[in-house]
């Protein structure tokens, strides 16, 4: 078919790159163009007499009648309305429709013109946007939910630890009191050894409970409270060394420090920190080599280090050492909860200090430094 030589209005109407529909005053189709018929697969004659809503699905009809029909009547037009027209073969034709009413001078409706543009790609794009938004919202809801659940679990766990700490202390105190009583009476050599072992275990367990309690308190918002005083360092360290010697009589512990050195600190906390570092060195150090403790006070700084021989700490473990519940060997039953170094570092921080580690084939050394006036 030869095309029109020049623009002609008949052809513009029939073969425009958009669909045209005209509705009579009763809302029924009186005229439509070839383009629309091609898109729908329905001949123009077959469209005449239908209403716009007859071309929609039932759901579309309800939406049209409750929204677009009133909008058209109220405004006299609607623009960019998304409709799904149903083709002859039952498949949807996604379109955007504009409509405008034409009224006479009395305001009586004469007819309504509807222009239809194909919008398949656009609709797909919009659909994807909606999907993406919904996915994002669902993910946000999910992560918020997880966060909340995690928070609740953490709170419960810490309350549990706090309660457990208190409940463990009481029987331990009773055992401690009992062994004290026994030691004041004459005992056989064997009994004395057993009592010594029991006291060592009580001490170790008491240290573990202290750590758990501190951990729970730290996390529960109480933080570490310091009770500073200026006192000689020797008795504080010597007591810890003595306790651990009792628990590990076969291990050698060397203590090197200036006997007159005085330190301003919370000495009970300092003892706890030192006890954790020393116990750590004994547990992980080579059993046939001494653990060496050095304490130096100089240039406004206390430097306290604990060194042991033995295999070095693997580089990948270095960053984890001071994390709570970190254990080099999670299956080990002798390492406790993995709170010792964490608590030690918390105590160091509370004193405005820090703990550094060096580890090589010769020795592993934990060094605590804190400022002194």
């Amino acid at each position: 078919m030869p095309g029109p030589a020049a623009e002609d209005l008949e052809d513009l109407y029939e073969n425009a790159p958009c669909g045209y529909l005209s509705l009579g005053r009763d809302g029924r189709i009186v005229k439509s163009n070839q383009t629309l018929s091609r898109w729908l697969g329905i001949a123009p004659d077959a469209l005449v007499g239908k209403r716009l809503r007859d071309l929609l699905s039932t759901a579309g009809q309800i939406f049209y009648e409750t929204h677009f029909a009133p909008l058209l009547r109220m405004q006299g037009y609607f623009d960019e309305v998304a409709l799904d027209l149903i083709r002859a073969d039952g498949t949807p034709l996604h379109v955007l429709a504009n409509a405008a009413e034409r009224r006479d001078s009395e305001g009586e409706l004469l007819f309504t013109r509807v222009t239809v543009f194909r919008a398949t790609e656009r609709r797909r794009y919009e659909r994807e946007l909606v999907d993406a938004t919904e996915t994002a919202q669902a993910e946000t809801r999910l992560s918020k939910g997880l966060l909340l659940a995690e928070h609740e679990a953490a709170e419960l766990r810490e309350q549990f630890i706090a309660v457990l700490g208190h409940d463990l202390r009481n029987p331990l105190a009773a055992i401690d009191g009992g062994t004290n009583l026994l030691m004041r009476e004459p005992q056989s050599e064997k009994s004395q050894r057993v009592i010594g072992l029991i006291r060592g275990s009580v001490l170790r367990m008491s240290g573990l409970i202290d750590n758990v309690m501190d951990f729970a308190r730290g996390r529960l918002g109480g933080g570490l409270q310091l009770n500073r005083s200026l006192k000689p360092l020797l008795p504080t360290l010597a007591q810890v060394v003595g306790e651990l010697r009792t628990s590990y009589p076969e291990r050698e512990i060397e203590l090197h420090l200036d006997a007159a050195a005085e330190v301003e600190a919370d000495h009970a906390r300092l003892a706890q920190m030192f006890s954790n570092l020393l116990a750590n060195a004994i547990t992980h150090g080579a059993a046939d080599q001494p653990v060496r403790v050095d304490a130096v006070l100089r240039a406004g700084e206390l430097e306290l280090s604990v060194a042991n021989a033995g295999p070095p700490i693997p580089p990948e473990a270095m960053a984890q050492l001071f994390q709570p519940f970190y254990r080099s060997n999670p299956n080990s039953r002798v390492q406790g909860l993995g709170l010792g170094l964490y608590i030690a570092s918390q105590i160091a921080q509370a004193h405005g200090g820090r703990i550094d580690v060096t580890s090589d084939a010769t020795e592993t050394r934990f060094t605590f430094r804190m400022p002194q006036a």
Binding site: I62, T66, A69, R73, M74, F78, A82, E101, R123, V130
Partner: protein
């Protein structure tokens, strides 16, 4: 917050017998702008937006409360009480017809007459009852609301152009009419189209007029007849107007029918 603000209540006129007009699913109180003014000379007219529609306070939208028509009916009763309405006339379109029925049961003194425009007590077919839609079709509608709200918002927020033919419609109106938060629209659609208030019809004691359009796919003539047969003493008038919104497409006919009745 007062119900007046919450529901964007607008009153006009004065008279002994107040009239409350309620809009249906899809639009807002402007649905009545061609009808309500005709009664201002003899009546206090009350227009309002359901919460979630028009200029209502969206922050008052409570998905739980508005998951049944009872929630909307409670609002209507509150509005009536706030304005001291007694022995008045309720005019409700579409889903609001049933909201008015429920309100009249909650507060029988409030309305002496009910005018129900295109009412349906249940849209989904049931045994021995033809509501006009299958459950599946309603599910498709609800799904398509979710599906099409992009297109919907594109339709509702066009560049506002002057409308030479209808200068009385200001920009403000063009902006707000029919515009609904898509999530709320979906909820309201579910509440509306899954409701079943057939059992409430028999309890109505107010005089009742049913205005039934010809060729209304949302509420067919058979449904209108069902409402008439079940509300004691009610009468039904078939309008020449076609479609679901005679209050817009044939206001004169609606006004005349209401006037005859009251």
């Amino acid at each position: 917050m007062t119900v007046i603000v919450r529901n964007h209540v607008v009153t006009a006129g004065a008279g002994l017998k107040p009239m409350i007009f309620a809009h249906g699913f899809g639009c807002d109180q402007n649905m009545w702008r061609f009808v309500a003014p005709a009664f201002e000379a003899d009546h206090l007219t009350v227009l309002f937006d359901h919460v979630g529609a028009g200029k209502s306070d969206l922050s008052a939208y409570d998905a739980g409360k508005y998951s049944t028509l009872e929630g909307y009916a409670d609002d209507l009763v509150e509005i009536g009480r706030a304005l001291g309405v007694g022995g008045g006339v309720f005019v409700g379109h579409s889903v609001s017809a049933m909201i008015g029925v429920l309100a009249s049961l909650k507060a029988p003194e409030m309305f002496e007459s009910l005018v129900l425009v295109g009412p349906s007590p249940r849209y989904i077919d049931a045994e021995g009852y033809h509501g006009g839609f299958t459950a599946q079709q309603i599910e498709e509608l609800l799904a398509s609301l979710a599906d099409n709200h992009m297109g919907w918002s594109a339709a509702m927020a066009p560049a506002i152009m002057g409308n030479a033919d209808r200068p009385e419609l200001g920009e403000e109106l063009t902006n707000s009419f029919c515009r609904t938060d898509p999530a709320i629209a979906r909820q309201f659609a579910r509440t509306t189209f899954t409701a079943d208030n057939r059992a409430d019809l028999a309890k109505v004691t107010a005089r009742t007029l049913i205005l039934q359009c010809s060729d209304d796919i949302i509420a067919s003539e058979a449904v209108g007849a069902y409402v008439r047969d079940n509300i004691p003493g009610s009468e039904m008038k078939i309008l020449q107007a076609t479609g679901h919104c005679p209050n817009l497409s044939a206001p004169a006919e609606v006004i005349a029918a209401i006037r005859d009745f009251i």
